[in-house]
Assembly symmetry: C2
Homo-oligomer: 670 residues x 2
């Protein structure tokens, strides 16, 4: 699989030269939608709603759709060329400083990615590699020297790069990277070296073909001292695409999807670059050959450097959520047109959407998609607010990272599960590439494990919560801890979302209601989610504390791993619900607001239904209540069904972007 790039494998870049015209491309989408659909778009569009509207109005439809039969090589060509057009249209580099051609808008940069993800995911991921990972590292970890030298070229795609962090032996465990970056005072150079086969950089987007330069992560050695993981810029190919001396590249070839992304491997055999190529914002080598860093604690330095990954995770979360919305847009449109089986006493055959089992597949997933839109908006706005804040707030930054990790895991899981469900809900038609679901599903598959494996990320969330917990309660004994937690939980252990006053009001009102009224009471919903999270976290903390006295700490943590993951999931469920509630409150259109309330009911009750074992086991739900919830879910599905099309319009994807032949040429209707 791995081989040194030889001249016959070279692939010259398309002619350089900055922005290109959209000439030669087709029209943008027509995108005529219902008033309710439009009101829902406005309610869910968030701070960058105007960017979304502009993209829908101007992106040529043919940019959004890749021919699924293209060979790997042709798919790579198409992907690169398409990204260049999207770049020229201004949907890729918003996060960079204005002086280099960006908009200094971090939040919008993730919206750029999200908009690209509405089309072909290879284009979006290639954009993420160039502008998020590679460019993001140069921007965030580099200093003036790197910015002046590289930012404008990379923003305008005259310089294509890759992000060589992952090694084949060390997937999620970045601290264990083996690649060495050794300072050589003689030549004033950094020597980049891969000490063995498990140090090979792997899965690197751009490494197989297009990248000319790499941000390479490795252990920085200065003299006898290892200063931990740092990053350095290393040219890997010449202009014509031939690998430079000492660099061995490999091509991963066929993958489960993302055919247009040229993932590959990199090995370095004592490759030398000038000392200045080290991205030295958080740690570098002075002119006198001494290591220096603005952050003394090596652990904090490491996490600060990794903190630059936060934008990538927010972007992938948005992409996972788009996958679900796109799949639902296809499957729901099909379900309101496709008939199957006649029913006694009914005229003709029954529409798929009129089967309860079909409603039960589509509508809860639509409800979750709405929940995630609001939660994603909140996350993106917080990213931009922190970016703009005059002073760096460490705690807010850590909270953002925790939430980004959690959202990435939740949204990509939802995206993959929903795309799969939608594929199946369209039967054999769903399995034809021309109907738009299979390529989507395959491309998104890797979202579950890249940019941080979902299981690892959820652990990260739980550890973040436990850290808060420990800081709060470290010195109390168990009983005191629980009592104190009961008083202070709301304010401190678990930071709240934007809608704090509203949520407090709703929860307080719910406490005064009788059980009969509760089922659709938002305050009760919020209280149930909060109570679930608190109980799971408190019992986890207690369990770990007890266990840590006997066993070794790994065993203690490992034997509670299912509990750890549950804590993370229930935390994210609450965070997402609170964003949903805040979003509904802010909606100014009464009809849209009413539908959002029903979707929120459905989102909550499906979650309670799925966890009814837990709630009953912990005496928080009676058998009667559990039964009533199931009946209410069915009732909500029925109530929302007439608005099915408006609900998918509200998710913001023009029908022509779906690339689904069966919706355009419905030859399957009688």
């Amino acid at each position: 699989m791995t081989s040194t790039t030889t001249p016959d494998q070279t692939h010259p870049l398309p002619e350089a030269g900055g922005p290109r015209p959209v000439e030669g491309h087709g029209d943008p989408a027509t995108d005529r939608i219902s008033p309710l659909g439009q009101a829902l778009r406005e309610a869910t569009g968030g701070r960058w709603q105007h960017v979304r509207e502009a993209a829908r109005a101007e992106l040529p439809v043919d940019l959004m759709l890749r021919d699924p039969a293209l060979s790997i090589e042709a798919a790579r060509d198409w992907t690169l060329e398409t990204l260049q057009v999207i770049n020229a249209l201004g949907y890729s580099a918003s996060g960079y400083p204005k002086e280099y051609g960006g908009l200094d808008d971090e939040g919008r940069s993730t919206v750029d990615f999200e908009l690209a993800a509405h089309g072909d995911l290879s284009v979006a991921i290639k954009s993420g590699v160039q502008f998020g990972l590679f460019g993001g590292a140069v921007s965030a970890l580099g200093t003036q020297w790197h910015h002046d030298r590289y930012l404008r070229d990379l923003i305008e795609m005259r310089l294509l790069g890759c992000y060589a962090m992952t090694e084949i032996g060390h997937g999620s465990d970045v601290a264990s990277l083996e690649t060495t970056l050794t300072f050589d005072p003689g030549g004033d150079e950094i020597v980049v070296h891969s000490p063995g086969p498990s140090a090979r950089k792997a899965y690197i987007g751009g490494a197989a073909r297009d990248a000319r330069i790499a941000v390479v992560y490795g252990q920085l050695w200065v003299g006898e001292d290892c200063h931990g993981v740092h990053a350095v810029l290393v040219p890997i190919r010449d202009e014509s695409g031939v690998a430079l001396p000492g660099v061995t590249t490999g091509d991963h070839g066929a993958k489960g999807g993302l055919a247009g992304v040229d993932n590959g491997t990199l090995m370095f055999d004592r490759v030398r670059v000038p000392r200045e190529m080290l991205l030295n914002r958080y740690g570098g080598v002075r002119d006198d050959g001494v290591y220096e860093s603005p952050i003394d604690n090596p652990n904090r330095r490491f996490f600060t450097m990794l903190g630059t990954l936060v934008r990538g995770r927010i972007s992938i979360a948005s992409g996972g959520a788009v996958v679900a919305r796109k799949a639902l847009s296809i499957a729901t449109r099909y379900a309101v047109a496709r008939r199957q089986f006649s029913a006694p006493g009914h005229d003709g055959e029954v529409l798929l959407i009129d089967y309860l089992a079909h409603q039960r597949k589509l509508l809860p997933a639509i409800a979750t998609s709405y929940a995630l839109m609001f939660a994603q908006n909140e996350l993106t706005e917080r990213l931009q607010d922190l970016h703009e804040a005059p002073e760096k707030d460490q705690e807010a930054q850590r909270e953002l990272e925790t939430r980004a990790a959690g959202m990435k895991a939740m949204a990509t899981r939802h995206g993959n599960d929903t795309a799969q469900m939608c594929r199946e809900a369209c039967g054999g038609a769903g399995y034809l590439a021309e109907n738009g679901l299979t390529v989507l599903r395959q491309d998104a598959d890797v979202f579950a494990t890249f940019e941080g494996d979902n299981t690892v990320l959820l652990q990260l969330v739980a550890k973040g919560l436990l850290t808060n917990y420990k800081e709060m309660f470290g010195d109390l004994d168990m009983l005191g801890m629980v009592q104190f937690a009961a008083r202070s939980f709301g304010g401190a252990v678990i930071e709240r979302t934007a809608a704090r006053p509203l949520i407090n009001r709703l929860v307080a009102a719910a406490a005064r209601r009788s059980e009969d009224e509760e089922l659709l009471d938002r305050g009760w919903h919020l209280a149930m989610f909060e109570d679930r999270e608190r109980h799971v976290l408190e019992t986890l903390a207690g369990r770990l504390r007890k266990a840590s006295k006997g066993e070794d700490s790994f065993e203690a943590f490992n034997s509670a791993q299912d509990h750890v993951l549950l804590a993370a999931r229930t935390h994210m469920d609450r965070v997402i619900l609170e964003a949903f509630v805040a979003g509904i409150e802010a909606c100014s259109d009464p009809v849209a607001q009413d539908r959002l309330e029903r979707l929120c009911d459905l989102y909550v009750l499906c979650s309670l239904e799925a966890d009814s074992g837990w709630f009953q086991q912990h005496n928080r739900m009676s058998a009667t209540r559990a039964k009533a919830i199931t009946a209410q879910v069915n009732e909500l599905c029925r109530a929302l069904r007439p608005d099915a099309i408006a609900l998918v319009e509200g998710m913001g994807i023009p029908e022509e972007w779906l690339g689904s032949t069966m919706l355009v040429e419905p030859s399957w209707t009688a």
Copy 2:
């Protein structure tokens, strides 16, 4: 997408001429395994264990593995050629009568398919089209004339056919097919016609390229009378591959997987074939132009003809189960070699398999896979027993069809979910095609919706159970029904699996034990599964009966659709468990038997854990018990972990058949 086949699209068949030598192919797998692995293979091999052993010993490894980067056209070539070799080796046509070259062994024919599915799934599906669907229809629906004329040629692949049942407008609803087969007494011919676009035959394997003849399903008209769905043989291409006059073929092109299967469409414009081409075993036109059938009731005739699909469903069930076993074989072998993250106080990094969350992913899926192996053996043996029985037992046949439908839905769901989980459990490596998981997952995806959509099939199962129920209790009032059900449930409403006396004994013994001892008591397990099934079915029957008095019958059934699907699922859970219990009892190796007992415990407790909401809601599980079950699942995972490799060896797939580069060249170890 659809177009009349023109000469430049033709593709001549590879040279004909019966069986080919295996010359030119590589060696079979080495397949050295542990004694426990071997004992487990013998315990799970069933009646055709010798065929499985022979296949492992003789099938060349290169037949099992398709290059994932092949273009669609190249993949089709490779698939056809590989099937010809497998055919020559004797693994495809066992079900046909001996006088035409088969073995008259229906059960083994599904094992043939299963063995093919251990390799590339396009080959297996192409085999299923040729020998199961097309050949199966000629064999089962045709008579002596058809057998003499076609069976030997199709068995030896000199004649390639396709099975044109599905129409684009009518997926699972075969009774609504629009294609007409009109008897023309003038020419003594059948006129085959597609009246409109929704009558187009779609998704037909072989229709795009290789098939020369089709079994076409449509409504048979004789004079003024429509006699419902029948099938007729229609030549569609000449020897060189050019479509015959009146036949329009189309190519579905890229799909979600199965690149080697040439699925396509067919339209007929008043194509005439001799009357003899009608497959007339269950209904045809006499020489005097009068319709005649051995089955008077049109409804029963229709279902008798569809009954020939049962072997196909049993085959797909076996294929879905193989997908899970193959994916688990890859992911488990990876997990016992791959290390990630160091743990304080432990040497080196921790193996993936030692993380509880990872065990929780792999081991319950392994347990379910074992359960399905036993259930599949039972089903296959029953198929062959019914085939061999001197007299046709209508009720046994109906039961077999119900169970085949249920097994197809359960096993393909398990296959797809497990392949996906395994892909993710291997991280980025799992996303590279060279590691064997992505193509597997993509090829198997359609299993969930073809050969009967899983949701539709589960409804079929539930309807079968309700029919039994109604026959039994139709004349009793509600109270009488429930009382009677409580007495007779075991014996009649739900037919039991082979292990009836054993199971009665175990259940009776469990009733005498205290709650403390129960958790691992098989009798308690059986009682819980049986009780869940009975309660779900009884309440469903009551609900439908009550509802049917008010609303129309479609609404009554539809509003209970989630309940209907639950009834089917809980029924299948019990059937599968009982097969597992019987299989353990028959195991002669004490160590293997012990491990099977633990796997069965895990299978049961995971099911009880997943349904703990239901059990608590219906007062069948206390909160304490629910908690104990979760702890016991974790404990079982830990207990089974040391035997992980032997457990996957026992699933019967030689490591070299897995086609997983990372297992052969583990460059990711330090």
